[in-house]
Symmetry: C2
Subunit: 373 residues, 2 copies
């Protein structure tokens, strides 16, 4: 979204249209933006969907008006609301990540500092030393004016939220607002809201978090943070995924070192070897973030939105067949596809959007496209 698009709140009707569009099958953040760019508004995109989907091999469910209204009513009962990326209270830092959610479910956090934020992540089966370290770090970060972001998981996440309850903390959920995981942290979620903290998720109400939803959630933990600190992490762990996502998002990555004899230090030590900053206290983090170039946010901006021609006609069935023959499971650059197929850029974008909505293709790195099997 360009800055000019973010000024105003949505009307109720617009909000319902945004919600229906993002809750529609095969519409992720990237497709959502393409549809908005192509058709000018969520309402217009919804109107155009039946036509775009009529050549789809498999049926695609478009979220209904009543389902959207039910979700909004359900969220209100939980004290949560929807915030669209075009609205003023959408977290600024999230605008600068790839695949930013077009719409978030959010509760609390009205008085939090959403700009001075540090993600604190680590092992669920944390050691007592790891818990103690987390308490020190999150407590001290809070005292220094930073909001602590984490994932409400057991272990390090829990310690991070608890230590920053008074100073401000944000918990990002992997499932729906009514499906807090793990159950044992439901009281913590209440404590966070009672203390002015925030809970947020991009998933629909009622969504049970599955394994693959956690890495997706982790990109929001890092995306909401100026930097993330990994306290304890095994070699292959969700915390390391968060660290990788943070680097892709141009965030700082900090890691707490540990003895090589301790398996829970393997992830952090490896991160440091790969260039993460070794930290031993909150001041190490504050120093780095404090000296970060304020112009750095410009670096976050990704010029990934396609230049669609709004008036381009829908390409013919022949063009679609030609494109499907050109695609394989190997990701290929869109520009290369255009050169090889002889299609116009506008026609290519429309066809890819159609295939995307039909669930026939998948994107990697935002610019590479492949057939989905």
């Amino acid at each position: 979204m360009a800055a000019r698009d973010r000024a105003a709140s949505l009307s109720d009707g617009q909000r319902i249209a945004w919600l229906r569009l993002i809750r529609t099958d095969n519409v992720g953040p990237a497709t959502f933006r393409q549809l908005l760019n192509r058709f000018g508004s969520a309402e217009a995109a919804l109107d155009a969907l039946p036509d775009l989907l009529k050549r789809s091999a498999k049926p695609v469910r478009i979220a209904s008006q009543s389902a959207a209204e039910d979700e909004i009513a359900g969220l209100m009962r939980f004290g949560a609301r929807l915030v669209a990326s075009s609205e003023p209270d959408y977290p600024e830092l999230l605008h600068h990540i790839a695949q930013a959610p077009p719409i978030l479910t959010l509760a609390g956090g009205a008085n939090l500092d959403w700009q001075r934020t540090v993600g604190v992540v680590g092992a669920r089966n944390a050691s007592s030393a790891g818990i103690k370290m987390t308490r020190m770090l999150a407590g001290d970060l809070g005292e220094r004016g930073y909001t602590v972001v984490s994932g409400l998981a057991r272990g390090i996440d829990t310690a991070a939220h608890r230590a920053s309850l008074q100073t401000g903390t944000i918990a990002v959920l992997a499932g729906g607002f009514d499906k807090i995981y793990p159950d044992e942290n439901i009281p913590l979620a209440h404590d966070i809201l009672d203390n002015g903290g925030a809970l947020l998720t991009e998933m629909p109400l009622g969504w049970e978090p599955r394994a693959r939803d956690f890495p997706r959630r982790n990109r929001l933990v890092s995306g909401l943070s100026l930097g993330i600190v990994v306290v304890e992490a095994a070699k292959r762990s969700g915390s390391l995924i968060t660290a990788r996502l943070a680097l892709e998002q141009n965030r700082d990555v900090f890691a707490v070192p540990g003895s090589p004899l301790d398996p829970r230090a393997e992830g952090g030590n490896a991160l440091i070897q790969q260039g993460a900053k070794l930290i031993t206290c909150a001041d190490d983090i504050v120093e780095t973030l404090g000296s970060a170039d304020p112009a750095r946010q410009a670096l976050f901006d990704r010029d990934w939105e396609p230049d669609l021609m709004p008036d381009a006609p829908l390409p013919g069935a022949d063009d679609k067949t030609r494109l499907l023959q050109a695609l394989t499971a190997t990701p290929i650059d869109v520009d290369e596809l255009i050169r090889q197929s002889g299609l116009s850029a506008a026609a290519m974008q429309m066809l890819l959007l159609e295939l995307d909505l039909a669930g026939q293709i998948e994107w990697s790195s935002g610019q590479l496209v492949a057939l989905k099997y």
Copy 2:
């Protein structure tokens, strides 16, 4: 010493002259080299000393022929010998450090690899985890063909030597060959020699090590090594001094990380923050050393030897007074002194040598000179 000077072994007479010269009051490695450069040989320098010292305010003791002969005889009884820096079996890596000892006392080590060397240093009051880590590192380094260098101290040093007894280890002493410290490590010293390892020192036979001799010794531990690894070290510790010296000598510095909650990890973590490489196993070290540019040794060479004119006349008493008035406790560059005093470079060098021998000046960084108070 230039390479051409290192080809041949010394005659017995030359060796005694070298020993007498380095054992003379106020003659350190730098002064020793200046004297050799000025007079062409240790014998000629000894002949010139009385004349150079006749204007000295305080008496300066010149080591006698009989004292030198006694030291050599004493060393023979301990199975040790003297090796001069001009001789072929002087450790090659030591040629590339500032203040390299002109003469070493050495025992054993005939079949060691003196080029593939890693210094392993750390706390005397090591933790059991630190000891275990050291055993793993030193043992694995030995298996990979590296000789382990350390300082025969309690704790980490002891563990490093013990773990590399079979594969080769070098212990550098802070005192005389007959004054092994601590007493409890005399059996370890014997074990090192029995297994083909080496013991060495630059200090005279009979020298009891004092506190300030340990940093001096540490420069030889790092100087004999391609890189050093710090296993456990408190914030202000001898191991950190060794690390600093290693950096000055252009050696690699590695550190084992540890929990910020462990005071014995403070030094290592701080080193990593300052740029030392975090390592968790011997392979991390071997990879870095293996990929080190073989031409790196050229970087070690320091062109610090003054260009003395052998035929320059001894400057007059007026010149000496003028120089003493120009000097203060604040170190000043020799070139600046020459410009300010109007003395020739040759006269300046001779005067500084004379003041050096009289114990009136001290050098820092090899090029800066100051009055000694």
